[in-house]
Symmetry: C2
Subunit: 213 residues, 2 copies
Amino acid sequence: MPRAPLTETEEARTRERLCDAALELYREHGQEAVTFRRLAEALGTSHTRPYRYFEDKDALMAELRLRCFRAFADVIRGSDPGGHDPAARLRSIHAGIMRYVHDHPAEYRLMFSLRQPPLDTYPALLTARRTAFDYLVDVVQQAVDQGRITGDARTIVHVAWGAVHGVLSLHAADQLVHGRTLAQLTTPILYTVLGPLFDDAGAGGAHIRRATG
Amino acid sequence: MPRAPLTETEEARTRERLCDAALELYREHGQEAVTFRRLAEALGTSHTRPYRYFEDKDALMAELRLRCFRAFADVIRGSDPGGHDPAARLRSIHAGIMRYVHDHPAEYRLMFSLRQPPLDTYPALLTARRTAFDYLVDVVQQAVDQGRITGDARTIVHVAWGAVHGVLSLHAADQLVHGRTLAQLTTPILYTVLGPLFDDAGAGGAHIRRATG
DNA sequence: TCGTTAATTTAACTTTGTTAATTTAACGAC
DNA sequence: GTCGTTAAATTAACAAAGTTAAATTAACGA
């Protein structure tokens, strides 16, 4: 006799519509434009309906970040040619990431913004993040296994990622006024941080070279 | 016959008190705790008094960031031993910066948060930022002049700074769970990015080495 | 003492997050 | 088909915050 609760797919569908609208607001008009009221307006419903689908606004924002991290992991996986040449794989993945961040600065900002509730508030976020990270660790581990570089793969990725992330976050914050593409800026970083791995192909691309004179 | 306007020092003094209170709120309770009403409460005045001293809240936040950038520049200058050895100078400056960021993550977050009004809204901010940056460029230029490395000093600093900034921002966002000190993480980055400059002293400290086997 | 004007406060409005009360709507029982 | 039950959705309402305008206070010189 009771009214039937929402189907799981119905609920998921509405959540999806809310997330899509929220992400568009974020992209188009920035963080402060993402309000439940505007979301509701975009969906043509009342401004409290989102509370049926998200605990509160923080939960919505966490869900957005989660989606971004998953998309990011997909980009990494999708730009990996696979095979037995870790250097080639990393080059391709690097290019893919640069393309993604260049095309989606808002998403990058969302993922790596410094002002966020503690990460452990939303464990799924940590998991998604780690999934992307671990993929890179696996590729680097391949290089280590082949004896092309030495060290702890996780630490290597941490350092390399951090190094590239610096430039990316400056880009995402629109604080880079360089007349270069992202990849032009990050490639030398990658090549220097992972130098030995790219000795054959790329060291010549680095901006910083030992003085020859 | 009119009432005398505020002295410049009186005005500066109140602005200072407002900034101090705001920074403390930011440090202790985060971004969302910085409100004019709480500021006023801290100063024991009405919640609209700050409007006499700052155009709006964005202006206050910009002033905070400005102060942080100036303090940051002071840290750089203050930890520079000077002299004719650019490698030694950079090592010392690097250590100083790491200490500062370790001790003041909130300030770092404030300076480099990805969510901010466009930089050019507050030209003084750009100037302060550039002052700190240019100091580093001068040091690197010294190394270039001595023929120890080659390349455009500004680009070199951009890349090196970006590389280190990646780790620092992860730290500021509390997204580093590594059991290492900041300097332990950033030193190998610096040494690899600026490798030739540190060939004598530091390359051994890098995490990433050419495989020997 | 009083008028003038800057500084400050009080009042008021808007927006937003959030909760509670109310209404709407779908389902099975009769 | 009607009706009770209950989830979903809406409406109403409140608190906190940014901001503006009106009212008040206070210092100065005539």
